[in-house]
Symmetry: C2
DNA sequence: TTATAAATTTAGACAAATCTAAAAATTAAA
DNA sequence: TTTAATTTTTAGATTTGTCTAAATTTATAA
């Protein structure tokens, strides 16, 4: 049996590893889960024993095949529940993440499948984040990070790569929603911040924000 | 903060106390939760410290006002989720209890309220069990236990007072569903079992089963 | 009313998950 | 290539929830 805490570690490791190959540092996991490095080391040993990760002391961890599968399942559940909350229960996109953090740990394969069907097999959650299918495959995406666009180019917001409440509420205050049109007016070298227009209204955003906005160009 | 284990103890105590006054024995709780009496004593001390129950050593526990409120909230969540699973996700009535045991611990008042509204403020769960409203009030019921009916009397099944899978699957095998018509043909004194008809087909059931079937007489 | 049985609590231990402080290993700097 | 800084691991504790075995209290029976 895999515990709730173990599931959260697997999810954190998946989030932190771009390529499922490369290994993740103890400190990075500690920061992601808001815990101490020593706690991370303890837990890594446990999930190593369960063969959920590969671990080389002082060198970091990476997900094993079964660990990756498990982590993707949790992400799938998290995002399906977010869709449920928004499309069926009328929650706002900035209200669903914390509840999904709880719901993602409910154990029932039949429930996940039934929920998926009930929602119409959605490919993206309310934040434009991709939902892996039953086999763990993510839908292909053709988006770029806003921070990577050239000056003068433009497109539509199709997703965010972070869905915590404070970030989403900041986006709300800028009227940045899924589907909004954004153009890059100016790139400031000094701090990599951007002058942009959102549906033709101008604004200035930090690189930190731009990095987490996914844009699809026409 | 109230933990998941504490919630389960409160729920068990509520279930075991007919009148919210009378106190529940350590052994009864241990049996209900499939744990040891010594574990129960340990936990009782913890929830006593949190003023969720009143406890007299060797004499048993009863729910305090706040403990009762909390216990009813959990029952409310459990039964609302059961309704969701059956009416929206097409689960059978014998498949929902175990999943609801998990879902009842999800913490979000807004979620419970939204779910309640989404389901149309149901008063009974898929097993005919009453769902307390937001204020903790249970809907009035006019049913009797089948075991209390006289020979010759009859009525319709409006609920069960137990919803574990094995019991419900046994009812399925007898074609006892909500709405089924039942008549008492004979009461056997020896073991209090009953000869009955279910939609005019005869069957023999134990007192243990009859006690958990709720009947509404015409 | 005393002895026996049953129920309950206490004592001591353990696994899970976490922490702080200290030691060890790795990386970066001089 | 040493030394210093950073990262990571280990040692030792703590909290929660559970267990077994033993002691205590209450209930029952002779
Ligand atoms: Mn989320
Ligand atoms: Mn999301
Ligand atoms: Mn149930
Ligand atoms: Mn039920």
């Amino acid at each position: 049996m895999i515990t709730l805490a173990e599931e959260n570690y697997l999810k954190a490791i998946l989030k932190l590893s771009k390529n499922s190959e490369d290994s993740v540092s103890t400190n990075a996991i500690a920061e992601e889960l808001d815990t101490k490095a020593s706690s991370v080391t303890d837990m890594i040993k446990k999930i190593t024993d369960k063969q959920l990760v590969d671990y080389v002391p002082y060198r970091g961890v990476s997900l094993s095949k079964s660990g990756l599968k498990k982590a993707i399942e949790i992400v799938r559940k998290h995002r399906l529940w977010e869709v449920f909350l928004v499309t069926k229960l009328q929650f706002k996109w900035d209200e669903v993440h914390d509840i999904a953090e709880q719901l993602e740990h409910i154990k029932s394969q039949k429930l996940v499948d039934a929920l998926d069907a009930y929602l119409g097999y959605p490919q993206h959650d309310p934040h434009g984040e991709p939902i892996p299918n039953k086999d763990g495959q993510f839908p292909k995406s053709f988006s770029k990070r806003l921070s990577e666009l050239e000056k003068g180019s433009s497109g539509q917001v199709v997703g965010v790569s972070q869905d915590n409440q404070s970030f989403l509420q900041y986006l709300n205050s800028l009227n940045i929603t899924l589907g909004a049109s954004i153009s890059v007016i100016q790139k400031i070298d000094f701090d990599d911040s951007l002058e942009i227009t959102i549906n033709n209204k101008s604004a200035h955003i930090s690189n930190d924000v731009a990095r987490n906005l996914l844009i699809k160009q026409k």
